[in-house]
Symmetry: C2
Subunit: 520 residues, 2 copies
């Protein structure tokens, strides 16, 4: 390399090269050692078949344990033992999502090949916002878009899909498209310039907290969130919604966006989309559907009909990291009309005259998503889809919905359980009601049952408050869960309830503690 | 399990158990096979020492190749060959971040052990917003917060740190805290209620596009973004900034937030933080520092002084996935005053009376970050820190800054290169100026050089437009890059420039194409 002649650092360069070669060998060995160790731990975890929930540790205790694993040296090194200790602590403290005792939450273990791919895409990153850096990621977006377009029934080329990091971000992005479109000049002018009427968003009573939060974030204000009432199946009731929106309009609110749910967090309910699409149209409002949980029904011939009307939405999103079993976060955000995606975050005009750069710009997502650095998480979905095909996803999802329905039927037959809502998805709420208990005592009991069942470590349930009543809630994300596990869980609930009530009658009916439930 | 007696599905349950056991064995084998394959590919990649940039493929060609790898079957299966083909295509299409030819962008390969951990955390997820699901992740937040507090010099217990997914989100989150605090009632009331003065944000001319975008998103409006002028080192000039903000106030703007940079995207400049802190204080404005790129200087005794004044900021963020070499996205968002983090997205009051739930709530991040499902990416940083210690990070970062400075000194000595800004970080801009070329022709040449160098596949550079002049830009993220690589890259630039100018003089000075550069 003759350019080196100009440098007077030749000899130090040789040392440098030698050092980096040694370092490189070291790096590869270290990587291999760590990876093989991790595979062993994970394979072992996947092979286990114990019924486990979570083992909660007091934060102060866990802090001490974690602290003891941190090297005291200013410059440490790879230490296989320390690495194993950290892996062990991690796996020990996590929810046992691979166990049949896990019934608590909307996340799950993933299709194993996608976890492997996470390692690959961390080591050889393809940030996915721009084609230059994320060639395959941007192509995968287009291929998955095509696949889902067929399920939705939208003509190829007429719609568009953007992947983003989570439904919170997807819902906010869609709301921005709606705001920028319906509140003219809001992107540049802001909302502080006197609007004739105050902009407002209408959402269902059971909408996820991240949806109601959008109004606070994008400058609409939480007070301008109109809560639409639900029917007995906890779906938005279109007739009452119409009256409420009409009333809001009269009071000077401009309801520019209606956000419906396909799969509420609480019970997995699907709002009546055809009616809500008509309602939105009537008011010139944008219809967005938060289908984070149930949107995956699209891939199943059996379940797809439950999403009837989704094709009428202006936009909707689904979380592939929930019900398509790929690593978080992988959210697909769909717009019915192509060209709207880039109006969420309008940029100054970009000019491209080079045909090659043009082609690249046409497939890349940069100006359409919030992220600048974006993980190529769509590739996990594309990879699994390419290997396993549609039915692998559909089969698992159908099984989860089926076993949830079986759990419903099971509880219906139990005289000491109430199951108020027939499940539309893989989420089921129920109340354990021992004879003679009602009202607040019944609510407190459910909470205490959630706590005790969790503390016992075999099952993990969640809880939800609906109509002033605390209920237990299961989300079945693990298709190895069978009816025997449901029955086992019910038996455990009864046992704890017996203990609690016996203890209470001894103590003279002390109040049970009130707890905080993380919302999902 | 006697509860099973009540079920009439006993026999089908037995079949079910058998099926899931078989499936489980299959799953483990598949996982192992895929993981071992991936390790081999990655170890091979890490061992290579070729000088490579990126091999760009036309989207239409890549689409065809990717499509051919998708199973045609409705139900496929794990196919080691197909998996290998996909891995190969992925690695082939990515930027060769592990090569000495990669000088283009702000992302890099990661510390190998963190890539391994990505596989673990995908397979056994600990969503990090809530303690129940992410015990270790939430503890790691506290431990890393403690470590960085010492570097910043903030007293333990007085400040607070939240991890989030990317600096775009961190910057927006901090801006919301500022807005909610200074524009009273904006979270609930929105911005459409007549403010006495229009809220505005002041940012530097070189602020990242995601920063200027915040005003559009949170309802302030892009027109209310005040651009502060820069000095010759492309840092915000405090004196001129003061005059501009004073002028804006007179015109009815309420500048409630000032966003400075520590490491601009363009050239890595650090704004003068002590002066800007004083300026913000004078106007009662919030000072946020986007230290996405240079914030990592905190870990180095040598580089930390370059961040003087950062401790005066109300908030700042840094991207551990940039200059702390962990997988994207891992952003640390710091607030000088504890208790403010939860005012970004104010929630309805939560009540917790159970002491154990209280302890858990105290360490968890749920109400403080935008995400609901949040990857436990802080664990990558905590893991690497626990194994390797501070100096592993500091050494690498110092080496990158040192070699960038050497590259500057090298170019200074080349008569046909202009290097307008002495680097403060690992980013360097320069212009190749063959004799007789200036103005638009010089800009066009730089762009064409970027394109040709990229197309040749050995080096990857980026480009940037500053003061109407297109410049070439390198970001050194790979510490194996040495001066010989810089010299090699310069030689390649000269060769392409020779070709271009020869070709031009033959053709009679046709206009060179104008291209789109992805912003980082």
């Amino acid at each position: 390399m003759d350019s080196l002649c100009v440098l007077d650092e030749g000899s130090s360069h040789q040392r440098e090269t030698f050092a980096t070669e040694t370092e490189s060998v070291f790096k590869v060995r270290e990587f291999s050692a760590a990876a093989h160790q991790a595979i062993e731990w994970l394979a072992n975890m996947l092979s286990r078949d114990e019924v486990e929930g979570v083992r909660l540790q007091r934060p102060v205790d866990l802090m001490a344990r974690a602290r003891s694993l941190m090297t005291k040296a200013d410059l440490g090194g790879f230490d296989a033992r320390r690495f194993a200790d950290i892996l062990e602590l991690y796996l020990e403290t996590g929810i046992k999502v691979n166990s049949r005792g896990y019934m608590g939450r909307q996340f799950s273990s993933v299709m194993p090949v996608t976890a492997v791919f996470e390692m690959v895409s961390a080591m050889a990153p393809q940030p996915a916002s721009y084609y230059e850096a994320g060639q395959l990621a941007n192509i995968a977006d287009r291929l998955i878009e095509e696949v889902f377009g067929r399920f939705i029934g939208w003509p190829q080329g007429s719609f568009e899909m953007v992947t983003t990091s989570g439904a919170s971000l997807a819902n906010m992005t869609a709301a921005l498209v709606a705001r920028n479109r319906r509140i003219s000049g809001s992107w540049n002018g802001g909302l502080a310039v006197g609007c004739a009427s105050r902009p407002a968003i209408a959402i269902g009573e059971d909408a996820h907290f991240s949806v109601s939060r959008i109004a606070g974030i994008i400058g609409i204000g939480q007070d301008q969130v109109i809560r639409l009432p639900l029917n007995k199946q906890r779906q938005i009731c279109p007739e009452r919604a119409r009256a409420i929106i009409d009333g809001a309009m009269v009071q000077g609110l401009n309801v520019f966006c209606l956000i419906a749910s396909a799969g509420t967090t609480a019970i997995g309910a699907n709002d009546p989309l055809p009616e809500l699409a008509a309602l939105a149209k009537r008011h010139g409002a944008w219809l967005h559907v938060d289908a984070a949980h149930n949107g995956a029904f699209l891939v199943s011939d059996q379940l797809r009909p439950r999403l009837a009307g989704l094709e009428l939405a202006d936009s909707f999103c689904l979380d592939a990291h929930k019900t398509l079993f790929v690593p978080a976060l992988c959210t697909l955000l769909f717009y019915r009309e192509k060209g709207l995606a880039e109006t969420a975050f309008p940029q100054k005009d970009s000019y491209v005259f080079d045909p090659f750069e043009d082609e690249m710009a046409a497939v890349q997502s940069g100006v359409k998503n919030f992220e600048c650095t974006k993980r190529p998480s769509i590739l996990n979905l594309w990879l699994a889809w390419s290997l396993y095909g549609r039915r692998a996803f559909a089969d698992k999802l159908e099984q989860l919905v089926k076993i949830t329905r079986s759990a419903y039927d099971y509880f219906i037959d139990q005289p000491d359980f109430i199951v108020p809502y027939q499940p539309e998805s893989n989420i089921l709420c129920f109340v354990h009601q021992p004879p003679g208990l009602s009202g607040n005592s019944l609510s407190s009991l459910q909470l205490e049952l959630r706590n005790r069942v969790r503390a016992a470590g075999r099952y993990l349930l969640s809880k939800v408050d609906l109509n002033g009543q605390t209920m237990l809630r299961i989300v079945l994300m693990n298709d190895r869960v069978g009816l025997s596990d449901i029955a086992g869980m019910a038996a455990e609930i009864r046992r704890h309830a017996g203990d609690i009530l016996e203890n209470e009658s001894t103590k003279g009916g002390q109040d049970l503690p009130v707890g905080l439930e993380p919302e999902e």
